[in-house]
């Protein structure tokens, strides 16, 4: 077993080049007002991993565990409290971000809220082109907008319409076209399909897969739905209360979940198969998630873990490699 606190190097797909690396990343938010004044929401606590070029790394975990905060901190929409961020080996922890903005984009959960209602679709997509001065002539710009819209399954006549004239699925396509406009290499997909109807979700998932193949994109894919995350990701990281508790190849996580939290998470997902559902034995987690302002000592999962031992209350388990490329943090292992 290797101490892997600094940076788990794992057998990842893609061509093996590390595109994004984070080391011991932390993000704390100060609590304003009320009882918590002067204290911090410890949203991301000491997370390290690498994302390889062409790979999709999935992030799962319960609401409030820090997925969004981690995604936003990696692309420096938030400044990290501690730790380092590298992009193609360059330390960008405190770098000026404008040149990197072109390389790192984000797609949001709520398509309606992330599009300016007063701008036409053409203006929304074109704005990104303008900021980075990516087109020379008016015609160039128009062609590029048309190309982007067709890439996401919309047509160029729709460029003159406003976001509210589109369905949720189409609005998400617009958000994706905007992200693609600057020809990014890395996209944080933060719950890109959660707000969409089930019948539209699979259309968007397929589109993200096609884009990735065509444009050699690298994704950090965040979602609640572990089935979707597994489908689209090469590897999955499981977060609990700001910490990464397990990281491994997607289907390996299903076959062989090591961390008790991952096990309960997987066992809680209902199976769309009545027979299997009747036979399934559920591990039901007791209680709610503790507050990230005052997280439990030792292993943060000890207040709900069915296997918790004395030492779990005081000793924080290290994040170790237990099989090639399979990392987890638990004293049982």
């Amino acid at each position: 077993m290797n101490e892997a606190n600094a940076s788990p190097t794992t057998t990842a797909p893609g061509d093996g080049n590390v595109l994004v690396e984070i080391q011991n990343l932390k993000k704390y938010f100060p609590v304003k007002g009320g009882k918590g004044e002067g204290r911090y929401v410890r949203a991301v606590e000491d997370v390290s991993f690498q994302i390889h070029e062409g790979e999709t790394l999935g992030l799962v975990g319960e609401s409030g565990c820090g997925k969004t905060t981690l995604g936003r901190t990696i692309i420096r929409l938030y400044d990290p409290t501690e730790g380092r961020i590298f992009y193609r080996g360059q330390d960008i922890t405190t770098a000026k971000m404008l040149p990197y903005r072109r390389k790192m984009q984000i797609i949001f959960q709520d398509p309606a809220a992330s599009l300016d209602p007063r701008m036409t679709v053409g203006e929304i997509v074109g704005e990104a082109l303008d900021i980075h001065g990516l087109t020379d002539t008016k015609q160039d710009r128009k062609d590029r907008i048309a190309e982007l819209l067709s890439q996401v399954g919309l047509n160029s006549e729709q460029a003159n319409r406003y976001p509210h004239e589109f369905s949720g699925g189409q609005q998400q396509r617009i958000g994706i076209a905007r992200a693609l406009a600057v020809q990014p290499e890395f996209i944080v997909c933060d719950e890109p399909i959660s707000a969409l109807d089930v019948s539209i979700q699979s259309q968007i998932v397929n589109m993200l897969e096609d884009m990735q193949a065509e444009l050699k994109l690298t994704y950090l894919f965040i979602a609640h739905d572990i089935s979707v995350v597994r489908h689209i990701s090469n590897r999955i990281g499981v977060m609990y209360l700001g910490k990464l508790v397990e990281l491994t190849e997607s289907y390996e996580l299903n076959r062989n979940p090591l961390h008790p939290y991952t096990q309960t998470l997987l066992s809680a997902v209902p199976i769309p198969d009545p027979q299997k559902s009747r036979e399934k034995h559920r591990m039901i987690l007791e209680g709610d998630i503790p507050s990230p302002i005052n997280p439990p000592t030792g292993c943060r999962f000890h207040t709900r873990c069915p296997y918790a031992m004395e030492r779990c209350k005081t000793e924080d388990p290290p994040f170790l490699e237990h099989a090639p490329g399979h990392f987890a943090a638990c004293h049982l292992l």
Binding site: E62, S63, S167, G169, Q170, D197, V198, S199, I200, Q201, S202, Q203, V205, N206, E209, H224, I226, S227, V228, R230, H231, Y251, N254, R255, T264, L265, L266, S267, A268, V269, P270, I271, P272, D273, P274, Q275, K276, S277, R282, I284, L285, D288, I289
Partner: protein, 335 residues
């Protein structure tokens, strides 16, 4: 109550509900019929906007203007619910029929303590003395897995976590031992771990009390887990209905099939590309003629564009509305 198990509780006949909007009439529910028996759990699945909530709200008399029942009947325990006056309707709600929602704050009153609301429900609907109501309230909170119920009774809804509020709402819905519980996406906003807790809880209570449940959800896993029967809605109609086994193992309607194969499954063992349902959801202001699924259906025939398909009975309770099941008629009409 259990001696009623299996008896007819609710009969919905050709129910039609419209919203009269400035842009025109939205036929949100376009003629649906079904029966529900005591002790039965029926799931309703279907696309966003297909009329699941509107259908359920009609039973509770909760339709909001400009929505109106424009046809059909709803009969609960032999009584015509649509003929109820305001007073009778209020008696019904929270008494014989209860409803739980996606957002618990819809049914919890923010300015009263949890205890106040539970005691009030019992004294109003069941004429139970306050002391007795309090005792039963504490029992119910315990049953829904709330620890320290004495303390929770004194708290206001906003002082509780999301999962806890959901449980309180369920406790409140169940305290008067309804014959029918209507659950509209009760776990959609919750994390899977909390969802699993709530589903186990609902199954437990259902076994004990034998209430019937209408469970509205878009999550097929949840349906497989908790329901006996499922109705699949599309554009304001039930397009297929059957037992969970019939719908999951021998689905027949192209929309049902599309729904089942479009999402990745948690028990998948390797990657398979998804097969989406093509196209976009129906614009309910201008639904297409004939079968509303036709523009997205890979099997659509000429007749599908003109005429709504009649119901075909495939098994005792397995019904489907699709021209593919009416080959003889189609041949005759297309000829």
């Amino acid at each position: 109550m259990s001696e009623k198990n299996g008896d007819l509780l609710l009969q919905v006949e050709d129910l039609k509900v419209s919203f009269f909007t400035p842009a025109g009439e939205v036929k949100a529910v376009g003629g649906i019929s079904y029966q529900l028996h005591h002790g039965e759990v029926m799931g309703i699945v279907g696309e966003s906007g297909s009329g699941k909530s509107v259908e359920a709200y009609s039973i509770m008399g909760l339709l909001q203007s400009p929505g109106r029942v424009v046809g059909g009947s709803i009969t609960l325990s032999g009584e015509d619910v649509l003929a109820y006056d305001k007073h009778q309707m209020r008696e019904l709600r929270g008494g014989k029929v209860s409803m739980i929602f996606q957002n618990p704050m819809t049914s919890l009153n923010p300015v009263y303590t949890v205890g106040n609301q539970i005691v009030e429900a019992l004294t109003t609907h069941k004429k139970v003395p306050r002391e007795e109501a309090r005792r039963r309230g504490l029992e119910m909170l315990e049953l829904v897995g709330i620890n320290n119920p004495e303390k929770r009774m004194k708290q206001y809804p906003h002082e509780l976590s999301g999962g806890m509020r959901q449980r309180i709402m369920i406790a409140l819905a169940l305290i008067c031992e309804p014959d029918l519980l209507i659950a509209d996406e009760p776990t959609t906003a919750l994390d899977v771990t909390i969802q699993a807790q709530i589903l186990e809880l609902m199954k437990d209570i259902q076994k004990k009390t034998h209430m019937a449940i209408i469970f509205i959800t878009h999550n097929l896993g949840v349906v497989a887990d908790i329901c006996d029967r499922v109705s699949v809605m599309y554009a304001g109609r039930i397009v297929e209905t059957g037992t969970v086994d019939e719908i999951f193992y021998t689905p027949t309607h192209p929309y049902t099939l599309g729904l089942l194969r479009s999402m990745p499954r948690v028990d998948a063992e390797s990657y398979e590309r998804l097969i989406p349902i093509q196209g976009t959801p129906v614009d309910m202001l201008n639904p297409p003629e004939g079968c509303p699924f036709a523009p997205r259906c890979e099997h659509a025939m000429k007749i599908c564009l003109n005429q709504y398909p009649p119901a075909t009975q495939l098994g005792e309770g397995h019904m489907v509305n699709c021209w593919l099941m009416q080959k003889d008629q189609v041949l005759e009409k297309e000829a």
